[in-house]
Symmetry: C2
Subunit: 415 residues, 2 copies
Amino acid sequence: MIPGKQPGKNKINDIKMKMRKVISFVSLLLCVATVSAQQALWGGQDIVSPEIHPDHTVTFRFHAPKASSVQITGDFLPAQQVDTPQGTFDAPGVADLSKGADGLWTYTTPAPLAPELYSYSFLVDELKVTDPNNVYLIRDVASLTNVFLIDGGRADLYKVNAVPHGTVVRRWYFSPTLDKERRLTIYTPPGYEQSSDSYSVLYLLHGMGGDEEAWIALGRTAQILDNLIARGEARPTIVVMTNGNVYQEAAPGESTLGFYKPTMQLPQTMEGSMEESFPDVVRFVDSNYRTVAEKKGRAIAGLSMGGYHSLHISKEYPDMFDYIGLFSAAIFPGEDVESPVYDNFEQKLQTQFDQDPQLYWIAIGKTDFLYQANVDYRKILDEKGYKYIYFESEEGHIWKNWRIYLTEFVPLLFR
Amino acid sequence: MIPGKQPGKNKINDIKMKMRKVISFVSLLLCVATVSAQQALWGGQDIVSPEIHPDHTVTFRFHAPKASSVQITGDFLPAQQVDTPQGTFDAPGVADLSKGADGLWTYTTPAPLAPELYSYSFLVDELKVTDPNNVYLIRDVASLTNVFLIDGGRADLYKVNAVPHGTVVRRWYFSPTLDKERRLTIYTPPGYEQSSDSYSVLYLLHGMGGDEEAWIALGRTAQILDNLIARGEARPTIVVMTNGNVYQEAAPGESTLGFYKPTMQLPQTMEGSMEESFPDVVRFVDSNYRTVAEKKGRAIAGLSMGGYHSLHISKEYPDMFDYIGLFSAAIFPGEDVESPVYDNFEQKLQTQFDQDPQLYWIAIGKTDFLYQANVDYRKILDEKGYKYIYFESEEGHIWKNWRIYLTEFVPLLFR
């Protein structure tokens, strides 16, 4: 009924037979998959896009026989300056694909691309669409963009390499201050589970529109930490990625609100609740992980709105963090945001710096719309003689910079 | 320099001022985001798609002024029968959207939809694209499809509800048999971290083309477990979601292979290596989690190829699992796949059933292409007098059924 395997006399025939049999199952399954998904999953549409060539030029392909125009836009193209009433900003460039006889449109970069994690979309008759041949997308607020990576240089830190891998956890905690169950993303470094040591903790905060998925997805935090630790350039560190929208339980799609359309701004992000409730997170982490549960074992850093949060949380709780990182921080010296965190601002800042934090690190890009606010803030620190380290990069308010800042900041921690 | 907050005499004026100031920051940030992403994130494009109406009809919207045809395809539409040389299969239906004067295409379902997690795509001038107003997509092998959920009935088990949430972990283990670091997705139930109890473990296996992300994403495992546990319908259980492609370290994009195009089939999936190496996973889980590390505390279940794996792993190690679930299992009585797992098949099956597994559960859909193979397999079990429970559903080889099977299977475990 169910015959056992009959060892054949001829091993090659055996293997051929095995291949034929496996293929017959695959064909059938493929047929079902093809019909039900209405597209070839295997053996059918063999378009590769993007194709990264050995010289690091890249070819993009898009099959659209009926389209009259296919373009590509992405941060690998030279930026265009766009004038708006609020000022001049960089926008990603656009390039035209050429149509082949078979309805396959292609574009190859004229020159090799520098190592980086890039994002792109197609514009088909002006309609923005994702690349159907690239399943790697990252969500930023309400938009999804395809990504690809050119390796080498710093971008090697963004790759999964053959190094020990940490653990990434999505976990819920209760915030008594907010009276809410909330979701965290936590990275524990390789070896954490087998060790009995205590580990230092970096609290890593996202910007406006982000959530607890932002740093792990767009920020490549797990890969950056795995790689820096493997190179001996970072101490094994726990990284706690919070949700800075205190109004939310969790990232869009991960809460009781279901699958709603994410928006850029949520209430209560910059009026003091994040700062007030932050000790709930620290208490949860210290009582659920083997941490160095004191100032010297804690860092806090964030981008944009998360930089604002990091500035104020570290100031409100001057005994809590020895390492502070402000990445393109939304610093508004009393002009744009009103919050109780500005009460006795100068006095609290004095208290924080009187206690000599190990590191106060400020980074910003030259074209960032927050550049001047950061210049002004550094002027204050300079006048007071408060020590900080300043890192200035090219470009502006973009994830490329925040990944760079993370790779620069983490090696300075807990030394 | 940095003025502290000046408590105003008029609280309403204070709040107005606060709103104005926060909005000025948001406007600026929004402007940057809009320019750099070339699309409105907030306040701009306010298309809602899908819009689920209170009566559970659904409207889909797509803005494409230049398109001459926009259609929608998805599993919420009545299936169409498609004839192929391999037989007749169900394919998702297609419906036309109507064009409005503003270039906004719409389609509203003629009747309310039954509770379910549905998937869909648009066809714009026959080009398959995702919905730019819906960021919720799930990857299945090499295709990405938008999803939405109609609540009620069983589909309430697929939602994030206001119940205690378990923890979801992505973690790497070393397989000595395969000499490879490999990635696992592990769900631990609410309360696991605070408890000192030992927990039973369900090993949950994906099908061909899947990986360790399949059950957590398409299968809604975390939501189903959270909800069943909260209702008292399931024991708090650890769920270990393995990668059944022994050739792989990890899901596409999560391994050293980088961002490559996933394929339906990988080598070594059905020739015995998965079965041979499976005890490595069990050993890792038993030594890293507080488990009931014996037969009565272990279940194994899988869909399609994962059903094949579950059948054979449970038979190869008859002392390991007391609960076995075959979901639309790829059962090939000696005809399609040749593997050492068929050596002494009947004798090993006899050994397994002689030890009285607590539950041997077989589920399949009426139109599944594997239906007859399951009928034949049950005939064998019947002839031998081996006890099993059989669950037959409508439809075929689809995730809708595998979610249903999980909700039926889990309540039967560890009682």
